[in-house]
């Protein structure tokens, strides 16, 4: 294996262990799971309320029609027909993930570079491996650790969907797909978090800056949408959630490419920052 690849792998493996075993990582994972399971519980509770109020379970074809109409309103007819077979719990979990996953990545990874810079632990590493390899390894480890946390949530959601009577084939197929799409979506924010962490010297500033940046990106996109400047929103990673759910390969692959490119560009910028800075 080429030297730099093994150095990236070693650093990524260390980052994964650090994030999955640290008190911070475990606490955030538990909160993330509670949030995810809480939303499932709310959905189940809502369904029970409807059934209690109507004293009957609506016929499946009525529910499907209702779902198709709602999805058509949001995505258009083609994607709606594709998504109508996705278990409701998994779809809702995916939508919530798109909102909360970037925050999880930020909270787990805000000190990915800034923590090493603040305590100068970088000095032990930079005499042994190129700074680019260390930075890339840390970003890769952050992505892998947070995607693993996400997988646990999606597996739990799948179990909940099966318990709710959803067909097993649809649950497994959609669960894996949605997890993979969410992980790819997260890549953009892993890059952004790594870049933010590389630009500042203290973790708390990295956390506040990262949070501020996510909020600013969200507000900017909202303003552009309200102003009917939809074409300008294509620079934001959050615009591509609809394409991730599209049955058309060109939209799906474009979304994956853009999100990975976004994350890659942010990571490349982070690498340049780390290479040039005095440690």
């Amino acid at each position: 294996m080429p030297r730099v690849t093994s150095q990236i792998g070693l650093t990524a493996a260390r980052e994964i262990r650090k994030n999955l075993k640290s008190t911070k990582g475990i606490a955030l994972f538990v909160l993330f799971m509670l949030g995810g399971l809480g939303s499932l519980a709310v959905m189940r509770g809502f369904k029970w309320l409807v059934e209690s109020a109507t004293r009957t379970q609506p016929p499946p074809e009525v529910m499907r029609e209702f779902k198709l109409n709602a999805l058509t309103e949001a995505y258009g007819a083609t994607t709606a027909k594709y998504l109508v077979d996705c278990p409701g719990m998994l779809y809702t979990q995916f939508q919530l993930t798109l909102f909360f996953f970037p925050l999880l990545i930020l909270l787990v990874g805000f000190d990915v570079i800034a923590g090493e810079t603040q305590h100068r632990t970088f000095r032990y590493l930079v005499v042994r491996a190129p700074r680019a390899a260390i930075t890339a390894g840390k970003a890769l480890g952050l992505w892998a650790a947070t995607s693993a946390m996400l997988l646990v949530l999606f597996v739990t959601s799948a179990v909940a969907a099966l318990a709710d009577g959803e067909p097993a084939g649809a649950v497994v197929s959609w669960d894996l797909r949605l997890w993979a799409f969410a992980a790819v979506y997260g890549a953009a924010y892993v890059g952004l978090t790594t870049l933010t962490s590389s630009l500042v010297r203290t973790p708390i500033i990295a956390l506040l800056s990262g949070f501020g940046l996510v909020v600013v990106l969200g507000i900017a996109r909202f303003v552009l949408l309200v102003a009917k400047l939809d074409w300008a929103t294509w620079i934001f990673p959050s615009t591509y959630d609809k394409w991730l759910l599209s049955p058309e390969p060109k939209h799906l692959l474009s979304a994956i490419a853009v999100l990975l490119a976004w994350g890659g560009a942010c990571l490349a910028a982070a690498v340049e920052v780390v290479k040039r800075r005095d440690v």
Binding site: R120, Y124, L125, A129, V279
Partner: protein
């Protein structure tokens, strides 16, 4: 004892190196060579530029101007220097949540030590710093002295050719500091060591070359004998009794004699072309004993501490 090959290329070379932080110049036009296989001291008061110079040699900082070479490579040529340079930075913390063994293993793998040798290498360096059973401990639970020793251990991983140590014995108890000095001294001739320290007595004991810095500039560099004038001066501590200054002045090869009444030291400067320090000591002792002087101590040179006080 292995000696330094004076004809060999220097292990480290700085050519007109300058480092500025904004308007402040930390190091100015510094040129010096560290002989291969030597134990080299970086000496100077606070603010002299020692740590900045050290950091540039290690590749942590880039010079504003000038060139730094380590084993004929720029310090940032990590691929070329991997495994050949070990560094103990002064103010770098160990990662608190990592276990000592895991962290050293990661560093050993990162620098390319063969997988089959990693465990043995980690055990060996920990044993060298008297920390053989520290592997399972978390770095955040180590005392200052233990953390310093782990820092030294990681600098020695893989038997590097050049080892840079910033304040290696600061904060260590005397016994451990002594043992660390023995560990470093054992490497003379095989490894080039650069030690930045405020402990001048320690540097005088183990270094064979040194550079004295002050306010970012080089004041003096050379062998320890040259810096302390050990090849040109000898001193005799005399108890109460006769002080035969004139008779000593008359000895062949003596250039100057000075009697310091306060410290009761007789300082004898001599021509090193005429004889070496040991021969001059013999000649002076013969005279002193003949004149009935009561000798309580003999030393060569001026003492590094005194020399640094004079020059900075």
């Amino acid at each position: 004892m292995a000696s330094v090959d004076k004809g060999a290329a220097p292990a480290i070379e700085l050519r007109a190196v300058t480092k500025r932080f904004g308007a402040q110049t930390a190091v100015s036009e510094l040129s010096m060579k560290v002989p291969d296989g030597s134990i080299f001291g970086l000496i100077g008061p606070n603010g002299a530029g020692k740590t900045t110079t050290f950091s540039m040699i290690a590749g942590y900082l880039s010079p504003t101007a000038g060139d730094v070479y380590v084993l004929d490579h720029r310090p940032t040529a990590v691929d070329a220097l991997r495994g050949k340079v070990g560094v103990l930075p002064q103010d770098a913390l160990l990662p608190a949540n990592d276990r000592v063994g895991d962290f050293l293993t990661y560093l050993a793998r990162l620098q390319g030590i063969d997988e089959g040798r990693v465990a043995d290498e980690v055990k060996a360096v920990l044993a060298e710093v008297d920390g053989a059973d520290w592997g399972p401990r978390r770095c955040g639970q180590l005392s200052h002295g233990m953390a310093k020793r782990v820092g030294i251990a990681q600098a020695l991983l893989g038997q590097p050719r050049v080892v840079l140590l910033d304040e290696p014995t600061a904060g260590l108890d005397p016994r451990v500091a002594f043992e660390i000095r023995q560990v470093l001294a054992k490497r003379r001739g095989k490894t080039t060591l650069v030690i930045s320290s405020h402990n001048l007595q320690e540097l005088e004991e183990i270094c064979d070359h040194a550079a004295i810095l002050d306010r970012g500039a080089l004041v003096l560099a050379g062998t320890m004998s040259e810096l302390t004038a050990a090849a040109e001066e000898v001193r005799f501590s005399l108890a109460r009794g006769p002080v035969p200054e004139e008779q000593v002045r008359a000895i062949a090869g003596v250039r100057a004699v000075a009697w310091d009444k306060a410290s009761r030291e007789l300082e004898v400067a001599f021509d090193k072309a005429e004889c070496d320090a040991e021969e001059m000591i013999r000649r002076v002792l013969v005279v002193l004993l003949a004149e009935g002087a009561r000798i309580s101590g003999v030393s060569k040179g001026r003492g590094l501490e005194q020399r640094v006080m004079e020059l900075t």
